[in-house]
Structure formats: C-alpha cells, structure tokens
C-alpha cells in the first residue's frame, strides 16, 4: 500500500532571481569557473571525502560533471554548458562565464525582461553575423596545405589546460602527435563524401609524456606469454582476417520459447563442439590467417586453429569491433557455418609491440584511416586530463575541417567584438533596433552590459593581478604583469597582443580595458600577410566559439525570463 502514497505538494517560488540565495550560489559558481579560465587558470581538486578517485582539473567538462548542483536555475546553466561541451568539446568555460556575467550585469539594470531578452537577441545576431562575415577582423582562414595554423590551434588548446602539466617541449610533442593522428584519419583518395576514420587513444600511464606516439592501425593489449605463443608469423603477403561477432565458445544459442527435451546420453556440448571444429576446418581451407572474435573462443577450437598456424585472438570487446571492421574491411560473422567468402578482410601485417610495461598485438592496415594514439603521462589524474584535452583537440580539428576558419584567441576576439558592438550601437542604433519597440537608451544600456560581460570573460584570463589593456586601432588585448613599473612606456612593457598577431612596436595607443573610452572602429578585414608572417598565434575554434556565444546568450535569456520556479519535492 505504501507505493500509493500521495504526492507531496511542490514548492513554488516567484521571481527566483531576486532571491539572495540564488544570487550567492550563482556568484559562487561564477567564481569557480572564472578562476579556471585560461592558461594561467587555477586547478580544482574534486574528491568525495571518503577516499577514492581524486580529479584535478580546470576543464569545464570534468568540472561540471563532478559538481553536484541542486538549485534548478544553476542546473539549467550547468546542463546547457555541458550539452554545449558534449557537442563541441571546446569553449565550455567561456560559455559558462559569459552566461553568469550576462545574468549578473542585466539584473543590475532593472529593465523589464522583455526588453532585455529582445535586445540581447539583437546583439547576439549582430555578433554572429559579424563573425561570419567577410569583413570580420578577428578570424583567419585555415590553410590545410600547411601545418602551421593547425598546429597553432592544437597548441592553444593544450596550453589552455594547465592541469595536463606539460612543459613547453612536451606541448610541442603532443601537439604534433595529435595533428598526425588527425591527419591519419583522413582517407587518402576520398571523392565527394569524406568519411573520417578514428583515432583510438591507448592509455599508458606513469610514463614520460615524450614517450607518447602515434601508430597506424590497431593495438590489442595482451600478456607477453600470449603474444609469444601467437608470434612470429612468417608471411610475405597480406593476411586474411575473419572477424566474428558471435560467440565461439560452444554455447547453445536461443532455442525459442518452448521446451527442448534432450534424451539421455545425448551430449549437446559435443554436438556444438563438432560444429565449431567444422567451422575451424572451413576457416583453414579458406586460408584464413587471423581469427578475431568479439567474445570467447572455445579452447579446443583455439588449439585447432593454432595447430594449423592460424592466429586466434578472442575477447576483443564491442568497442574495437567497429574500427576493426573498418580497418580490415570484413563483414562481422554471425554464423557458425557456411561463411560467405567475401566476409573475409585483410591486414598488411601483424607484429608485437612493447611500450613501457605493456605488450600489444599490433595490426597494421593496408590503408590507414584508423590509428592508435599512445598517450603517456606521469600520473593518473594528469593522464585523464591529457586524454580529455586530446579528444577536444581532435574534435576541434574535425570541426575546423568542416568550417575552415579559426578565431584569434587569447581574448583578442572578445575585445575586438566589444569594440565593434560599441561602435555599432553608438553610430548606427537604428539598424540594430529595426522596427522594435525598444528605445535607443535601452539599447545603449543593454549593449554596455553585454560588452562588459564579454570583457569580464577576457578579464578572467588574468589571475596574477596583472592589468589588461586594449589598443585603439585593432581592438586587441594586451596584458601587463602585476609588478611592472608605473605607466611610462607602454610599447616596452607590452610585447605582443593576446593572440600574438600584432607587436607593440607599431604606433598604437592603449587604454585600460574597464575604463571608459570613446567608441572607435576596430580595423576590419584582416590583412593576410600579417597572418602569414606570424608563426606563434593563439587560435580558437570558430564553430565552437560561435555556438558557445549563442548558447550563453540563449541560456541567460532563458534564466532571465523565469518568473516562477516549481520544485517537485517527491
């Protein structure tokens, strides 16, 4: 009877954003994400207090998935950031900080939600259309014929994750590996529709990062003894492969819903084993060199195959099935008899490989779109962080392949964008407002809130008490160290802007980021020669950043629009 218990009434709160508790929790969350942001971001250690796994991270995906958020409004915020990260991998912290800032800034203004939401939406579309336009001054085309910009992109991602604990040298090494792994997944002779391969990350913990490497093909981990039994194999031509997805252990398959009565003395096990050995004979007569099975192979069959110099590897697991199918070109076999000859595939060669203390069975493909990235790091938590970072970088490279543009990183895009918004709202407010009911004053207010939210994101790049400046020509970001002498000679103190595109020796004028200044037109249309000469740029993924910007503004709008929160207490 207890399960028929009446439901408890829900808790209903009006105007949730005005409550002090919500404001405090929001600002706590904001402080957490802000302090993680950028290359000099602080690390967070997450643990449950009962021992066990400790996570040291500064990445939004790891951070937010471990945080236990209870307030529904914060939940909306963190879930939308997490959803963004799982689609684009990058720019999670940017999204979270911008969203928090927007909510905070707008609340101070005291305008009606309708006006705020409408104007935020206008400003967002202004940003998006600028970043997508030809005249945009903060994006550069990605040239796939050289590795320079791609390397910059990967390096920027690696340096922005300090919890990976990489030295400069290691960063260079891992960046190159990631890029190689990515390039190996692109099919050589693709026409029209490109289907990318896959890079499998193989863990090698407690090793030097420098030992990390990329190999074409698939590595299957196994014990040394096992490996010795299988190898060496002597064959000059390619090896014929049979890949089984059904079990070869001699289980009796599904017999249906009725009953099966077995007479005394009849041994089904023997019957099945006979069947398996028949299968083995067929494989041998078909000249198969390598039998791979997702599940278990019966020891008798295994021995039979070994006797006939056929390598049998079982318990491969479901995760490797798809890459194996793709690499060897087989059709996973689900039958214990009458195998169609075109279900077999092939590999170029197999060999044993030893990395650190681990032994691997290495399948070398004929045509590689599958590769293995052996990733090493000193300890487990650092390895986890590095793995996440590598996945992010690989994903970003894929996104960049689809949309071959990159944004200037290091905060320059944001400062440039704020300069552009200020200029637009000041000089051409009618084009933004169109025929809306909002006034120009309201637009100015919201634009200021929007810009200062973006600037606060940039401001959180600096964690060591330094100052942030912006120049009045390009609208880029420049940072000064905290202990620098008083404002005497800017060009000597500043060397390069945040993204590394411009240096301070040009005739530029600077002003502090948060100081009031006149709106100016930031230089649009990036000169290509400037990009070509710069070798060490900080870059961001365009697709991820655009989506992050959209998600942040949409989520902020959503939260600002809330008039009630109904909490189900059941």
């Amino acid at each position: 009877m207890s399960r028929l218990e009446a439901k408890k009434p829900s808790l209903c709160k009006s105007e949730p954003l005005t409550s002090e508790r919500v404001r405090t929790t929001l600002s706590v969350l904001k402080r957490i994400v802000t302090s993680c942001y950028g290359p000099s971001g602080r690390l967070k250690q997450l643990h449950n207090g009962f021992g066990g796994y400790v996570c040291t991270t500064s990445q939004s995906s790891a951070l937010l998935s471990h945080l236990l958020v209870t307030h529904p409004i914060l939940k909306i915020l963190t879930i939308s950031v997490q959803n963004h990260v799982s689609s684009f991998s990058d720019c999670g912290l940017f999204t979270a900080i911008l969203c928090c800032n927007l909510i905070e800034n707008v609340q101070r203004l005291g305008l009606t939600p309708t006006t705020v939401i409408r104007l935020n939406k206008h400003l967002l579309s202004l940003c998006i259309s600028y970043l997508k336009s030809e005249t945009c001054g903060c994006r550069i085309p990605v040239d796939f014929s050289s590795t320079q910009i791609l390397l910059c992109l990967v390096r920027s991602i690696l340096t922005s994750k300090p919890a990976c604990m990489l030295t400069r040298e290691e960063t260079e090494h891992v960046s190159a590996l990631i890029l190689r792994a990515f390039l190996l997944t692109i099919p050589e002779n693709a026409e029209g529709h490109i289907i990318l391969g896959k890079s499998l990350i193989v863990p090698l913990k407690d090793q030097r990062v420098i030992d990390s490497t990329v190999l074409p093909g698939i590595l299957i981990e196994m014990s040394e003894v096992q490996l010795m039994r299988l190898l060496p194999i002597k064959k000059s031509t390619a090896l014929k492969v049979a890949l089984f997805c059904t079990t070869l252990s001699g289980d009796i398959s599904d017999t249906g819903e009725g009953t099966v009565v077995v007479s005394y003395g009849v041994s089904l096990e023997n019957a099945v084993l006979d069947q398996l050995l028949n299968l083995g004979r067929q494989l041998v007569s078909d000249h198969v060199d390598l039998v791979l099975c997702q599940k278990v192979i019966h020891p008798s069959l295994k021995q039979f195959l070994n006797m006939h110099r056929v390598i049998a590897v079982d318990r491969i697991g479901v995760t490797l099935m798809e890459p194996l199918t793709k690499m060897t070109g087989t059709q996973p076999i689900g039958s214990l008899g009458s195998i169609s000859p075109n279900s077999y595939g092939s590999v170029k060669d197999v060999c044993a490989a030893k990395f650190g203390s681990k032994h691997f069975f290495h399948l070398i493909p004929n045509e590689a779109t599958i590769c293995s990235l052996l990733l090493c790091n000193r300890n487990e938590t650092a390895w986890d962080e590095l793995k996440l970072t590598c996945q992010t970088a690989l994903h970003v490279l894929q996104l960049t392949l689809k949309e071959p543009w990159a944004l200037l990183g290091g905060g320059c895009t944001e400062t440039h964008l704020t300069a552009y918004i200020r200029h637009k709202t000041h000089n051409d407010p009618k084009s933004i407002l169109k025929d809306d009911e909002c006034t120009q004053t309201e637009l100015q207010l919201i634009a200021e809130a929007f810009c200062s939210a973006l600037e606060s994101v940039v401001g959180s790049l600096e964690h060591d008490g330094g100052e942030i400046l912006t120049d009045m020509k390009y609208g880029h970001l420049w940072s000064v160290q905290a202990d620098s002498p008083c404002i005497a000679n800017w060009p000597d103190l500043l060397s390069h802007c945040g993204c590394g595109l411009y240096n301070s020796q040009e005739e530029l004028s600077w002003s502090f980021l948060r100081s009031t200044r006149h709106p100016f037109v930031p230089q649009t249309c990036l000169p290509l020669e400037a990009v070509g000469s710069a070798s060490n740029l900080t870059l961001d993924c365009l697709t991820a950043k655009l989506s992050g910007l959209q998600v942040a503004v949409e989520t902020a709008n959503l939260i600002l629009d809330l008039s009630y929160v109904i909490e189900d207490k059941n």
Binding site: Q331, I566, N570
Partner: protein, 720 residues
C-alpha cells in the same frame, strides 16, 4: 467528528484556490508572459509556459484545486490549448458569483438560523445557480454564438469550399498561438518552423486525417538534439528513426523494404510446444536446417530487391550476418509506435517468413526513396525516405536547444498547435433553443426555464427561489407521456404526410408557413433525422409541458407566445432540424470549420457585449444574473492580456473603442495582428462552465482515511 474532517465546499473556498492558481498562470499568459521552471522528482528541469503542465507540476492537495486541475487536463486533452485562460476565467466567474451572492445573502440572513442550516440552504441556492449555468451552456450560449457572434467570424481558409489554406493566415494563427506557449525570443522562429512543417507535410487534398496522424504520432515525428542553439532546428524530409543501423549497406536506386515483427530465424520450439532431441546428429541437422533456412529467406529477400529490413524485435546474429552478406540494411528494436506509424504512412503490412518456402513474390514490400545514416550531434540515426501513400508527406522536425527542458517545451507547443488545428478543421455543431417573438424579424433568444426544471423540481424540494407554476407541471406529467409515446412510433417512419399532421395540431395557428418550412428541412435532412432522434423526442416533451402550462396560466403563455415568423431566412447557417412547439424551437446549426477571430480578447469582448444585450432582454432574474456574471468574467481575460500596455493600448481604451464600434455597427479594429480559433475559445468556455457547475454542486468535502475502494481492488488483483 465528521465536521472536523469535512470542509464545506463553497464558492469562497473555491475562489481562494482559484486565485492562487490565477496568480501563477497569469504571469505566463499572453505575449508578455514569462517562463516557469519546473523540476521533476528525477532532478530533471523543465521549462514551461504550458498551463496544464504547470498545474500538474504543482501536485496540489486541496480537493477543489485537484478537481479544477482534472477539469483543465481533460479540456487540454481535447483541445491542446487554453489552460491559463481556463483558470483566469474560472477565477473571475467565481469572483462574480461571490460578489452577487454576498449581496443577495443579506435579506436571507436576517433570520436567526444556525450556521449549519445556513450552509445547507446556501448549497441549495448554489444548486439552482449551477442549474442555471447548465441551461445557459446547453441552451443559450450556442444561440448567441450562432446568431450574433458568427457575423464577426473570419475564415482561415482562402476558399471555404475547398478548404485551401494560405500561408499568411496560418502564420497569423500560429504566431498568436506560439506567443503564449514558448519563450518570447523563440516564438517567431518556432511558428515559422511549424508553418514550414505544415506546408511540407500536407498535400492539397489534406483532410482531417492528417492532423489526426500527426497528433497521434507526434513523438515519433520529431527528434530532440541538445547542446545546439534553438536556431539550428530544422525540418528534414522523410522519417528519422531514433535507432542506429545494426547493419548498414549503402544502396541506391530501387530500394524496397519490409517490416518484420518476429525473428526471421526459425527457432527450435515455439511457446507451448516441445522439441525432443534424440541424437546429436539430429541436433546438428536441425541447426544446419535453421541456418540454411535463414540464409534462403535472406537470399529470397535480396532477389526481391529488398534492401532494408525494419524489425520490431532483436534479430539473432545469424540474421544480421546474412543480411550483411546480402546487402540488406537492418534496423532492429523499433518501438511499436514507430512501426504502426510507418504502416499508416505507407500502408504496409508486416512480412511473415513463409513456412513452406517457395519462390513466390513477396507482396508486402514498399519502395523507399533513400535510407541512410543521419548524424545529429555525434549521435547516429536512421534516415528513411518513405513514399507516403496517404495525403501525408512524411517529414520530421529536428528540435535543437541548449537544454532538454527547452526542447520539451517546444515539442509540447508544436504538438498542442496540431491539436488546435485539428479542432479548427472540424465543424462545430451548435444546438440551442430559440424563442421567436420579435415582429421585426430579428429573433431573440429565450430560455424556457420551466420545462428544464419540471423533472428536477421534486428532487430539489422547495428552494429559496420560488416558482409559482412549478406544481402544475408535475401534475401534468401524466398527460405529457401520451403524446410522447405517440411520437416515438412515428419518428422512425419515413417522413410522409402523416408527420405533417402530427405536427400541425401542436403548432400555433399562425404558424403554417413555419411548419411547411420545417417539413422541407426535415425531408432534406432525412438521414439526419434518425440520428437526431433522441433530442427530437426530448424537445417534444418540453414542448408539451409548455402546452400544459398554457391551459392553466393563460396570461403567462400569451406573453411568450406571439406569432412566429419564418425562421429559415434568419439563420446564418443552414438549419438542419427544427421542431416546433408552441412557443419555442430547438435549432441545430453548425459553425463551419476554420472560424477565427483576431487575437487580443476580441472573442471575449464580443461575447461580453452580446451577453449584456441578451441579459437586458431577458425576463427571468436568474438568466439575467448568470449572463451578467459570465459577461463580466469574460472581460478578465483581455484585462490580463493588456496588463502591461498603457495609454491608447490600455484595456479601458480598447474596450470602449470596441463597444462603440459594435453599437454603431462598424467593423472592429484590432491593435494586434494574429488570429485565434473560435472553436477553441468556445470549447474553453463550455469546459469552464462545466467545471464551475461541478464546483457549485459540491456541498461538502469529506476526507477519508481509508484508501479509495477502487485502488484496493486493483491491489488485490495484483497480489493474486
């Protein structure tokens, strides 16, 4: 003891409950409405402006509140719209009733009676009011809609006969709908999306069945993708199945598919049967046979050009393997809804593997345009280009949003919009009673109160409202029965001259023209007559009861029964059935599909105006009161809608302008663009009145500690 557990069900209590609900829903009402965040017990968050969802999420405990919520959800199930308006209107009605009865109570209360006694007495009064409400809803409302309001209706169709729909008017309708349902930064986008979807799915011959299909299978026709901005939502041609291929073999050209609902591989034994294994060889042979049989079936499918196999169950590895070998793509574990949707779209019955294998052609295959994997945010789906055989061209909506809660809101709103359109595309039958007494030819409505209550009078006993002729009616009951049986015999007959004779004696002498007219109508609608047999009979009985009255209370009758003019010319819509009594007639007419009015409280203001006019002409105090209360409560809705507007667009200005326009017979000018369905509004009104009636008829709410009997029974069954 009992009284401590029981709460008196009164208007006051109901009003208190309704006011709390009103406070919550009015914040998300109309174009300026805001969002409400709900958490589910599982910890998920949901954004909503859907009144029904909000009310359910509150998990209310108050019995009256729960009743109200039940009424709202049953209304929503039917129409998909109007939950917030429901609450606001109900609240205003209760407020009106409360105010009126407070005033009326004073003379009654001067007697020194005990509180309990007074409560029971009040309850009797509520009962009368609730009866008046029922009468209003069943007999008057339709008439006002038909005779006055209908002249203001616009049609959504550009051509009423063929029901063709132009995009701009649908856009107006949908934009107004989504204004109240999704966040204000997305409503334009979502309404455009819905519009696109509508015109992509529908052919010119589209009928109501397509709305039913989309309404029934809406869950299967959309895919939610989190982590992308809302503006990435789009419409995809074909059907997207939320499953991945078990085997995918790229194919083009002539692709045929089959649906299976059981495993293709034959099994050792089916349920209820027994398979006896006598030797190992037998086992091996049977396994071999199964293998060969599966192989043969798959080969046969291949030879019939079948390249896609949809299965509602999981297929064994063997089947998957042979499908792959034969170049047949397989999708497994499809839900029964998806299977039935596909079957409805292409009219395909499942393929049953032949028992005795023959090379015959498989009849139940269907052609598909394409079949390929679709990747939405790194998740794989099956994209199927079905060729529909019905008027529905299959398309899917991909809904994107930063969080699942927002996607659900949009999905909900789109589904509701289809429900609303489904209602809009139906004709609405209106049945009402009319009293035609005006010489000028404009008929005025009149409700013959007495007849409705003649049967209830014995139950209610002596209420506080006295009727002088009540007793006489009860006495005449015997007389009434005779003509009733007489009619019963005849109404099943084919209409003939005999029937004309049947009717004439009961019509007033001045009425011969009218009778002819009636007959004409009847013969036109011959098949309709048998359908409407029940109301016809009932109508007659009321007619006779008035006849009975006439004899006794001549002066009264003379007042009501004056000459009756021909009705056919006055009705805006063709009259389907008329049955004349001495002084009143029951009319059935219908509101054509696609009736709309401009948004912004136009319906409410119009109905308010005509109800007030009606109340002025009304002869009975109860009628006047009920009409006035309803008329005034109606204004509560535009008042909420224009809450934030000032100056020229504030509510008083709008109201005065509208009333002036109505008085001078000028067209109404609406300040807002957008249209809303009249059917929806009408259904809402009736639902609210029914709910109010329900509330008023309850006099005592008793809390019981025991579980309700029904639940207990169910439990014991489970245990068995």
């Amino acid at each position: 003891m009992l009284s401590s557990m029981a709460a008196t069900g009164s208007v006051k209590a109901a009003l208190q409950v309704a006011e709390v609900l009103e406070a919550i829903v009015s914040c998300c009402m109309g174009p300026e409405g805001r969002q409400v965040l709900c958490t589910k017990p599982t910890g998920e968050v949901l954004l909503s402006r859907n009144g029904g969802r909000l009310l359910e999420a509150l998990h209310l405990q108050h019995p009256i509140a729960r009743m109200i919520v039940d009424c709202v959800s049953s209304h929503l199930k039917k129409t998909g719209d109007g939950a917030k308006t429901f609450i606001i209107f109900l609240c205003h009605l209760l407020r009106g009733l409360h105010a009126v009865t407070d005033r009326e109570k004073d003379p009654l209360m001067c007697e020194n009676i005990q509180t309990h006694g007074r409560h029971w007495k009040n309850c009797c009064q509520w009962k009368f009011i609730s009866q008046a409400l029922v009468t209003f809803q069943t007999q008057i409302l339709d008439g006002i809609m038909d005779q006055y309001l209908s002249r203001h209706f616009l049609s959504i169709f550009s051509s009423a006969k063929e029901r063709t729909l132009c995009r701009s008017s649908l856009e107006l309708l949908l934009e107004a709908y989504f204004c109240g349902r999704v966040g204000r930064n997305n409503h334009k986008f979502i309404s455009q999306l819905m519009c696109d979807y509508f015109f992509k799915c529908m052919t010119c011959k589209t009928g109501i069945d397509v709305f039913e299909l989309v309404d029934d299978y809406f869950v299967e026709l959309n895919v939610g993708v989190t982590g992308l901005p809302v503006s990435d939502s789009r419409i995809i041609a074909g059907l997207v199945l939320q499953k991945d291929f078990s085997v995918y073999c790229p194919a083009d050209g002539d692709i045929r598919m089959v649906i299976v609902t059981e495993t293709i591989q034959p099994l050792f034994s089916t349920s209820g049967s027994e398979f006896i294994l006598n030797s190992e060889a037998q086992f091996q042979t049977s396994q071999f046979w199964i293998m060969e049989k599966t192989k043969a079936i798959m080969k046969h499918l291949r030879s019939q050009n079948v390249k896609l196999l949809l299965s509602s169950v999981k297929q064994p590895d063997l089947v998957i393997y042979y499908a792959g070998v034969n170049g047949i793509s397989v999708v497994e574990c499809l839900s029964s809804e998806v299977v039935s949707l596909i079957r409805r779209i292409i009219g395909l019955s499942p393929f049953v593997p032949p028992q005795a294998f023959s090379q015959c052609e498989i009849s139940n295959t269907a052609l598909v345009k394409f079949c390929k994997p679709l990747i939405l945010r790194s998740k794989r789906y099956v994209h199927l280009g079905l060729i529909g055989t019905c008027t529905f061209i299959p398309h899917c909506v991909v809904l994107c949003g930063p969080v699942q809660g927002l996607i659900e809101q949009h999905e909900d709103a789109l589904h509701g919009a289809f429900k609303m359109l489904r209602q809009l595309f139906k004709d609405l039958d209106l049945n009402y009673m009319t009293q035609t007494s005006d010489q000028n030819g404009t008929s005025s409505l009149f409700i013959y109160k007495n007849s409705g209550e003649s049967y209830q009078a014995p139950d209610t006993g002596k209420g506080s409202i006295q009727r002088p002729y009540q007793d006489t009616v009860v006495e005449n009951k015997d007389e009434l029965e005779k003509p009733q049986t007489y009619l019963k015999v005849h109404s099943n007959l084919v209409i003939s001259d005999v029937e004309l004779e049947t009717y004439i004696p009961y019509s007033t002498p001045t009425d011969t023209f009218q009778t002819d007219e009636t007959l004409k109508c009847l013969s036109l609608e011959r098949n309709r007559l048998t359908d409407d047999y029940e109301p016809l009979l009932k109508n007659n009985s009321t007619a006779y009861s008035t006849r009975g009255n006439k004899r006794i209370d001549i002066s009264y009758e003379n007042l009501q029964v004056t000459n009756i003019t021909g009705k056919g010319s006055m009705l805006p819509v063709s009259c389907k059935l008329q049955n004349m009594g001495a002084s009143q007639s029951y009319l059935s007419s219908s509101m054509p599909a696609g009736c709309v009015l401009p948004v912004g409280g136009n319906f409410e203001i119009l109905l308010h105006y005509y109800l007030l006019n009606y109340a002025k002409k009304c002869h009975q105090s109860e009628e006047t009161m009920v009409s006035m209360i309803i008329a005034n409560a109606l204004l509560g809705i535009p008042r909420v809608l224009y809450k934030s507007k000032t100056g020229k667009y504030s509510f008083p200005h709008i109201y005065i302008r509208a009333v002036h326009a109505l008085k001078t017979n000028q067209p109404l000018v609406s300040s807002q663009t957008g249209l809303e369905s009249v059917t929806g509004k009408y259904q809402l009104l009736t639902s609210v009145l029914q709910c109010l009636t329900k509330i008023l008829t309850i006099d005592l709410v008793i809390t019981v500690k025991r579980h309700p009997q029904k639940v207990h029974n169910q439990d014991s069954e489970d245990e068995l």
